[in-house]
Symmetry: C4
Subunit: 216 residues, 4 copies
Amino acid sequence: MRRYAAEFVGTFFLIFTIGITVTSANALAPIAIGVVLMAMVYAGGHVSGAHFNPAVTVAALVRGAVSPGTAAGYVVVQVLGGVVAAGTARLVLRGAKPEALTFTGREFAVAFAAEALFTFALAYVVLNVATSRSHPDNSFYGLAIGGTVLAGAVTVGGISGGAFNPAVAIGAAAMGLISWSVIWVHLLAEILAGALAGAVFLALNPAERSPSAVAG
Amino acid sequence: MRRYAAEFVGTFFLIFTIGITVTSANALAPIAIGVVLMAMVYAGGHVSGAHFNPAVTVAALVRGAVSPGTAAGYVVVQVLGGVVAAGTARLVLRGAKPEALTFTGREFAVAFAAEALFTFALAYVVLNVATSRSHPDNSFYGLAIGGTVLAGAVTVGGISGGAFNPAVAIGAAAMGLISWSVIWVHLLAEILAGALAGAVFLALNPAERSPSAVAG
Amino acid sequence: MRRYAAEFVGTFFLIFTIGITVTSANALAPIAIGVVLMAMVYAGGHVSGAHFNPAVTVAALVRGAVSPGTAAGYVVVQVLGGVVAAGTARLVLRGAKPEALTFTGREFAVAFAAEALFTFALAYVVLNVATSRSHPDNSFYGLAIGGTVLAGAVTVGGISGGAFNPAVAIGAAAMGLISWSVIWVHLLAEILAGALAGAVFLALNPAERSPSAVAG
Amino acid sequence: MRRYAAEFVGTFFLIFTIGITVTSANALAPIAIGVVLMAMVYAGGHVSGAHFNPAVTVAALVRGAVSPGTAAGYVVVQVLGGVVAAGTARLVLRGAKPEALTFTGREFAVAFAAEALFTFALAYVVLNVATSRSHPDNSFYGLAIGGTVLAGAVTVGGISGGAFNPAVAIGAAAMGLISWSVIWVHLLAEILAGALAGAVFLALNPAERSPSAVAG
């Protein structure tokens, strides 16, 4: 129970921050987004492992750091957190509404690549900093995870939306930031990239293949 | 004695930084504010627990990390630090004076929600990173706490003022940044959110219900 | 094998981020670049030592933290990562193309000095935070390394391009950000500065002259 | 010998970064300055204690963390690093020259207060994060120290110049950023604030009054 609550809280604040800062086109939006994720990872990591992202949960599942049942529960709670955050952000911002991001022609492939690349980077970072036995008590995991999202949002935010997270993509669509008609690009790219990161982690770290002692 | 001094110093520099950077509409204001809080948390944490915020002290009180007597002393010193910082900032900035933030109609509810949400996030982060037995010697607590305020200031600074802290709200009113007539919104939302965070922390971490060994 | 893969991944994301953010003249480009490097250093440090930079590998070689054979392999993989990242960034950004940075007259000497100074700073920081026996389990090494590149990019990015890394210089030339005709300035300055940093580290830390136990 | 070299390197890069970014009015200047200081503190802390600032050395002297002889040597090397950095920055930027900051009337008192306040904050942070026995192996000391300078530079950079460091003030004057005729304001405010921070630290931490084991 408590870990689902931690996942809800973390995902809610991530997507609430995204909703408000992106809708209002704040120049510091990527910094706020990366930093709130960092803070929530540090706050929730000891409880739930601090995924806040179905693609990360898929990566953790492939890597063996979370059971299938827990993973399913996490994804439900993360999407719920995203939808509630979207609704709250819309209430706060009533009136303000940007044009929804959409893609045509070649933009589909570019957006797919951008989301896949940075979601891979994010899941690769998470698995290495938060589930590896090499540095069990490090203090940098939240910084690395939040930093990856900050960098990705600056780099490809204007190209693909910079979600790297199916719960964010759904929340963004619910807030009118991304068109529902193209959101399958995000979901597909992100889930595949998360699974790939899990497989790459296991291939590169054969000693980690036995079941993990990591929370989750 | 020494812990009240540490609370005074930390709250003073937080609110002095807010006063100058917000009055002068500095584009990096939220970064300076979050970062000075981070630095003061690292400097004062080992002495006072580094609350610098009556809402955090309320959360720590509910959570059992501070005694009622110490909590009362902390709140007095924090508000004093805020008022002295406001006076100092006004001396430094003599002449420059922005229009005080005020609310009408629906804005009251939105500001209440914005302050309550991010104050909850802040107190939730503080309790998890600085008072949990899960990671007693971590080096990330100041980063998580300062980061939450940075993200909150970017996200809802333009909506509610982004105080998340009754001492900041009072200091901001004393500097003319927030209208005295609406400051009860901040105080009420922030105190309630701090108390709620304390209750949520205990509900989610039943093992932490016995008295805490944490400073304060 | 696995450490070459980690070097490829880290260098790829560093240079992909540089390519997109610099080409699109993003105001937060130096922050994204420093932060993605930080994240990749934390993700890959336990596998490869996280050089992602031939100048750092040269510094590590001089300092005795990596064998000549491994160093040669690292450089090949780093340059490959840079070229693949450059190709990927050009596909993503088809059309957008800035004017390539070039130098004339006195600018050659200034660019040489700028690249040499900050590459020295970077390699000096890496050797002290990631290979010194004084703090073997610290959590700050990625922050210090990414921070140096962030600061260098802000400071001399407009003067020399701010590569501090031969793989970045080659990737930047492949993306049309730096003219191929002046890239020898970068390569020469960076390699010399890396070697100098290795020598300075050994001179200042005589106790570290015996073979290092550090990964790589 | 090696600790004087570490002080020279750290102070050089701090003041070189200040010189270039402030002269070119870079919007990210305070971030670059705080972050390069952070990186240099992490790189040099284990060698020299990473003062890079005569006001910090005075604070450390009062607190008993450095001997008078070493302190004198540090100050000489820090000022030398500042002057060499200023000369190097002027060579790099030949031509570009901003108007030197100066003060008239009431501005003297305001600048004195601004420099004294943030230099006190800086030295107070340094003593608490880097010389206290409460957290001997923490990984946050550079973050706290660099963060204080970042916040101070954003907050009062436009009011007093934001030096908080006599070596920076002298280097800034040598680069034409601050008028030589007003620099005594900086030197006086900074040295007094450093000494005060040392005394406050000892008053608040009586258990630390016996000689420190900290480097330096």
